[in-house]
């Protein structure tokens, strides 16, 4: 797969920068020579990575980073410049995180392509933490051919039952993919998916026990999350859906539009429901695999 990289550099140097990116077979560079041109390019299409100089006549490279963070916050960005970090004005950009590369270092143009590939391959600038064995987890998730499994009705019934049992506004089953959480069933709301960076489940999946957030406005992991605010989410409880070999691939979750507490007994019940959801998924997959074997036979 060829990845697109927005290279933003002053006109005298843009070819050298773009050539360094293009030197990698898997990368293709788009050239821009001003902040404004970069903004327009970002409006026109998406990019897998941005590499930008700091100094431009019409602004700074951090403005380019800010522009892509607004629309696609998980895209990795490299500030590629001779300007030292201490000389860079960050006063207006305190929450922008970039990889800094000093373009005066020896061989840096030779290393740039590798760095960009690595940034894209490992999603290195996402605003959430991944489990140490994320690759194995995603491999386990790929074992379930969700598109082909007739689980929708089962999960609809389950989330309906769960929402009623706990008297909450929303209950959902979500599978946590590489970049997004996709909801297989959602009682009480019409949600399809959220990015990993936006969803609470990306935190919950890292914990063995049921995770409860009684009021997200009191927790800095979520209080500035406008997506959660726009959905009206106030409280959360999530339990892991864990495969037989211990990989967490999804969550069964409860959402309410007001602060909520959950007792130890309720947390245990939610965990039992999550285990049931996992069993449904595994049984359906087993049946699908058996049918495929019959057809092949």
């Amino acid at each position: 797969m060829v990845r697109s990289v927005l290279t933003v550099e002053q006109s005298d140097d843009v070819d050298a920068l773009a050539s360094a990116v293009d030197a990698e077979e898997s990368l293709t560079a788009t050239r821009c020579t001003s902040v404004q041109a970069a903004r327009e390019a970002l409006q026109d299409r998406s990019f897998d990575c941005v590499v930008t100089e700091y100094e431009f006549d019409d602004g700074s490279g951090l403005e380019v980073v800010e522009a892509i963070r607004e629309t696609d916050p998980q895209t990795p960005c490299v500030l590629f410049t001779s300007v030292k970090p201490g000389e860079i004005d960050t006063a207006s950009f305190e929450d922008l995180i970039v990889e800094y590369l000093n373009k005066d270092l020896p061989d840096v143009y030779d290393r740039l392509g590798y760095v960009v590939e690595d940034l894209i391959e490992h999603s290195t600038q996402v605003g959430f933490l991944k489990p140490d064995d994320e690759d194995e987890r995603l491999e386990a998730l790929r074992e379930y051919d969700v598109e082909e499994l007739p689980v929708e009705e089962s999960f609809d019934r389950l989330t309906n039952l769960v929402a009623t049992h706990f008297d909450v506004a929303v209950a959902f089953v979500g599978l946590i993919e590489e970049d997004r959480e996709n909801f297989l069933a959602c009682h009480g709301a019409d949600w399809d998916s959220l990015t990993r960076e936006e969803t609470i489940c990306t935190h919950s999946m890292l914990q063995e026990d049921v995770m409860v957030i009684e009021d997200i406005s009191a927790d800095r992991r979520f209080s500035d999350n406008s997506s959660l605010e726009n959905l009206g989410i106030v409280s959360y409880a999530g339990a892991n859906m864990t495969t037989s070999d211990g990989q967490v691939i999804g969550q069964l979750c409860l959402i309410d539009y007001e602060p909520r507490e959950f007792s130890p007994a309720q947390r245990e019940q939610l965990q039992q429901f999550a285990a049931t959801a996992m069993e449904i998924l595994e049984l359906r997959q087993t049946v699908l695999d058996a049918r495929a074997t019959e057809v092949e036979g």
Binding site: L62, P76, L79, K84, P85, G86, I88, T90, F93, E94, D95, L96, I97, V98, E99, Y100, L101, N102, L105, P106, D107, V108, D118, L119, H122, T124, Q125, V126, G127, F128, L129, K130, P131, D132, E197, H203, L206, Q207, E208, M211, I213, D219, R220, R221, S223, D224, N225
Partner: protein, 216 residues
């Protein structure tokens, strides 16, 4: 003395097993002094070190590292909001919550060390001070991913991040640390046992359920 042999990082004076490159250790405890001492023990080695220290001047940090292993402090670069900048080794940042600036400084420092062809040890003391200074924890995670865990992975380095559970980080600290633990290679819990003694507990380094006592 801490030596690294066969591509592994050793911890001189600490009875923990050597670790391979690309190992990140989360140090967790409720005693900042104990966390600082253990951080220095793990970061002092023959390799160059880079440390973001949120509370002490660069010179003080280098002095303490030299106290653990002769020359370790002289071979360390320190990023701190305290004290004065000196030479290329100590960089002062205005605000540890300005993660754009702190991240670029850390990224540049580790890249310079790596470009010289050397493996490195990298540390953050205290990660909880960083977390407490940002309004959105996602910025802290982006900083950890981009400017700390990535250079460690990419360059087969060793990373140590200390978290003080008594710091108010604006979120459930146990839940936050449980999440962070699964993203680091190992978690080591640090408990002070006496004025000059701490106990380290870990399930992730070497034998499961390992517990070692360390004299400070």
């Amino acid at each position: 003395m801490s030596l690294s042999t066969g591509g592994q990082f050793d911890f001189g004076g600490v009875d923990l097993p050597s670790v391979d490159g690309n190992t990140s250790i989360l140090l967790v405890g409720d005693d900042a002094g104990a966390l600082e001492s253990v951080s220095y023990r793990l970061l002092a080695g023959e390799e160059p070190a880079a440390l973001l220290h949120t509370q002490s001047s660069g010179r003080a940090v280098q002095r303490d590292l030299n106290g653990v292993q002769s020359g370790a402090g002289d071979n360390a670069r320190v990023l701190t909001p305290e004290g004065a900048a000196t030479g290329d080794d100590v960089t002062v940042v205005d605000d540890v919550g300005d993660l754009t600036s702190v991240g670029m400084h850390l990224s540049a420092t580790l890249d310079e060390v790596q470009a010289a062809g050397e493996r490195f040890r990298a540390g953050i003391y205290l990660g909880t001070d960083v977390a407490a200074s940002v309004s959105d924890t996602r910025s802290m995670y982006r900083f950890l991913n981009s400017n700390f865990l990535t250079p460690i992975r990419r360059n087969e380095g060793l990373g140590v991040c200390a978290m003080d559970t008594t710091t108010d980080i604006g979120a459930d600290v146990d839940s936050t640390l449980a999440g962070m633990s699964s993203s680091f290679s190992a978690r080591v819990d640090v408990e002070r046992m006496g004025r000059r003694e701490v106990r380290l507990d870990t399930d992730d380094l070497g034998a499961a359920g390992q517990s070692v006592t360390l004299s400070l």
